[in-house]
Amino acid sequence: MSKKLYSTEKWKEYIKTRQEAERRNAVRHRKGPKFTGTRAQKQQALRKRQYQTVQAPSVFSIVNNTNDAMQFFTTLELYSSRYNINLDLSQVQTLTTDAIAALIATAQRLDAVVRGNLPNNPGAQKMLLESGFFKYVSSTQPLPSTPRGTIEQKANTIVSPATAKTLVHFGTKAIFGTSQRNRPSYSTLIECMANTKGHAAGRTNPNSRSPKPSETWWATVYADAGKKKICFTFVDTGVGIFRSIRIRTVRKIYDFFGGKDDTDILRDMLDGKVPSSTTLSFRGKGLPYMKRLARANRISSLVIVANDVYANVSLNKFMRLRNSFHGTLVYWEV
């Protein structure tokens, strides 16, 4: 498929409609497994599917090229319901770790086999190899051996203080030469993990005795020696902030009293004006705290992407996205 086709208005409208249908399907899917066969049967069925190639944008970065990246993820979601996926990363010229983390998290969540190739650009290629991307996504070409680089990636379903410490110390050692504490980044990582543990898996039946489903989160640290910065990305592919039950109710109230949209809700959440999805007044302090850290310049370039909202909290720039992100992504630098 050419890039030109999916930049047309008609295609965008089509994608938007499909995306909404996919979301509805996903909600239905949560109520019970669609596939009733064994795991092996499911794998066999998946292997029989045809592959569809999806080309990544040349600037593959959620933080810096949000709309194109979201378009890519939406296309990925769309095709994955019927096909296995061939990720064509060959034309990627600029690659950032937030996009890699989101791509790994999404590939793990999709009900499809996902494989990919290497970018032709040497810098992007090096970054992809160092990220450990091909530990999670199989490669369509032989891979050169890569030494342990400046990227560390971790995943879990619970709040893991040990992992937060490992990531922070990995980043500080790569940049400063010695392993050090960075309390704002540690706090932000724990806040994000707790948020995923508490909210990302969405609605559960209060009468059910089964444990609350857990969503996997992915956290990446990248030591950018050129800029002397440590870049953190945290991703979960759960329901996202605006699909959580409480916020859906809040949105209805906002709609009723003046047509405010999700960007306004996120703004208010960051200001501590919207109670958390637990409805307990003493919760929901994580986002306001992260905003205070950004305002005090203890972390920089704080970006939050959740569903259809992009927020560069450090620059106070909020925008609605044409295509929704399935989950929540938080990016910051120190």
Binding site: I158, V159, R183, G198
Partner: protein, 109 residues
């Protein structure tokens, strides 16, 4: 004066509740902090809470610990009994006092 060092509980404080992960505020309150507070109050001593020497804190850990205590006992008594040391992040002291004040209005356990 009695002293509670959070780093003695863990250098990597975790989330709010035990079910969310290890070294939670709930665990700290139940295993260390509540008894230390009660003992200090009974003996009319000041309890110094030393916040330094850890990797950092999530708001949920601090709220569960200090807000959690204030949902069980009188906030004014707590503020009379506790004092804080936080050289690494001095602003945390005001955050914590805020949690204690806020918890006064929350329903008691």
């Amino acid at each position: 004066m009695k002293v509670v060092r959070i780093r003695d509980f863990s250098e990597t404080p975790g989330p709010r509740a035990r079910e969310e992960g290890p070294f939670s505020g709930e665990e700290f309150l139940e295993t260390v902090f509540r008894s230390a507070y009660l003992k200090a109050k009974e003996e009319r001593e000041t309890l110094l809470v030393d916040l330094d020497g850890t990797e950092g804190y999530a708001t949920s850990f601090l709220e569960a610990t200090f807000g959690g205590l204030a949902r069980e006992f009188e906030a004014t008594d707590i503020l009379k009994t506790l004092s804080f040391k936080s050289d690494d992040e001095p602003f945390l002291i005001n955050e914590i006092k805020g949690y204690i004040f806020e918890a006064r209005n929350a329903p008691r356990k």
